[in-house]
Amino acid sequence: MKTIRLLRHCVLPAACVWPAAGFGQTLDSGDTAWLLTSTALVLFMTLPGLALFYAGLVRTKNVLSVLMQCFTICCAITLLWLVFGYSLAFGESAVAGLVGGFSKAMFAGVGVDTVSGSVPETVFAMFQLTFAIITPALVVGGFAERMRFSAMLLFSIVWVTVVYLPVTHWVWNAEGWLFVMGFRDFAGGAVVHVNAGVAALVAALVLRNRHGFPSTPMAPHNLTITVAGASMLWVGWFGFNAGSALTAGGAAGMAMLVTQISAAAASLAWMSMEWIRFGKPSVLGIVTGMVAGLGTITPASGFVGPAGALVIGLAAGVLCFLATQFIKRKLQIDDSLDVFPVHGVGGFTGLILTAVFSATAGGLGLPEGQTMLGQLGVQLIGAVATVVWCAVATFAILKIVNLVVPLRVSAEDENQGLDITLHDERGYNL
């Protein structure tokens, strides 16, 4: 049953492998080895890739708070995944394509020899876990330098449960309503980037701006570690996109290639925009462009060709640059680390462009009987549904968490810095 549903969405079955578990096919050691590697690469993206990227962007007095947030999220979400996370995302649908049930809670039924597709289910579950970890970690950028640690922890756990798990179920579970509709999100444009971007924006609006923003200088305290982190993100992203092929072969190869092209194109596009607009290219600009390019190609990476990736990358660099200026300078919303304009706008754009470039510029094609316009409609529905659910739920969760523990630290603590006030530690004792 599931096999037939799968093939309906693919022109070339080999090139389109969806992460629906429980096929009971034969184990392939090549696929398994690659997915094991990809899992490590994607975890590396969070620890220390994203952690360092963010850490360098905040002020010295808050460097540890960001590292602590990323690290703690990794640990907490891991346990959440074990207890019910994997089940609600990838278990049998409990509520008609909206969310899974508890059939796989505590990894029930997942043993050493259980197979999912052509890999052990443990490996598939681990791979997906790394996505569930990086998504809330990305949201950190929206409330950096002012959120209470306890509130952040509670928020992250509830948010993953209420937002991330259902959306994952919609998009990547064979019974999910978006999957069934033919929604294409290869590696997490909606599940990871739109979700994280929208949540960060909502959080930035609910928590409100940092004291002194935007008049007080809040320059990144250490761009060297930001660039180091960004570099780790680039390399790790091969696990993110090429790993999402779930196979070691042509699909993974093409995904890796288009990922690289998009990253490079977007980097140069952002750098050029900056050069034209502000007179000088900056290193922060080029790495941000890179992230935009990677985020935007993410949903498209299994469906487009190199030429399409080039256009996607250039579009990402330009659009995300303009979006960042708009949010920061025009609207003056303190999405501290620009999560919404880079990941939110990027992911959304990538989802739309997936429809366009699946069918053109060397794309891998659309499902049998589907037109570009038709696919565009499906992409739009999925993207908008994600935005709406995420925005509404994030807002509600923040408001509820605030009743239990105040979201924001006091003005005095914020001024002193979170490292000292929340953790009794100093990042640098030089």
């Binding site: 200088p217 809040m218 320059a219 502000f278 600009g285 960042t324 200026q325 920061k328 300078r329 620009d338």
Partner: protein
Amino acid sequence: MKLITAVIKPFRLDDVRNALAEVGVQGMTVTEVKGFGRQRGHTELYRGAEYVVDFLPKVKIEVALSDELVERAIEAIIESAKTGKVGDGKIFVTSLEQVYRIRTGETGDQAI
């Protein structure tokens, strides 16, 4: 005895140090500071967020001198620290009441 405090541009430190050594000054204390006088700050740009940074990095040199050396030392500092552009710095001369060498207990001009 006098205490000379000079605030100069950081990249001039080596020149000043050498110039002072030439006029016979034995030692000094150097601190990294921030400051501004008439020199305006510069603008930094991070993802479109523009900041005017008022405080500029400077170096503060403190030298204890016997009265005879003061004039030559000041000349040496001014000549070696000057660039001719705004922000070159200032020299403050204050009276030094007493000086002690910790190792030997010497005081006054013997301790400088």
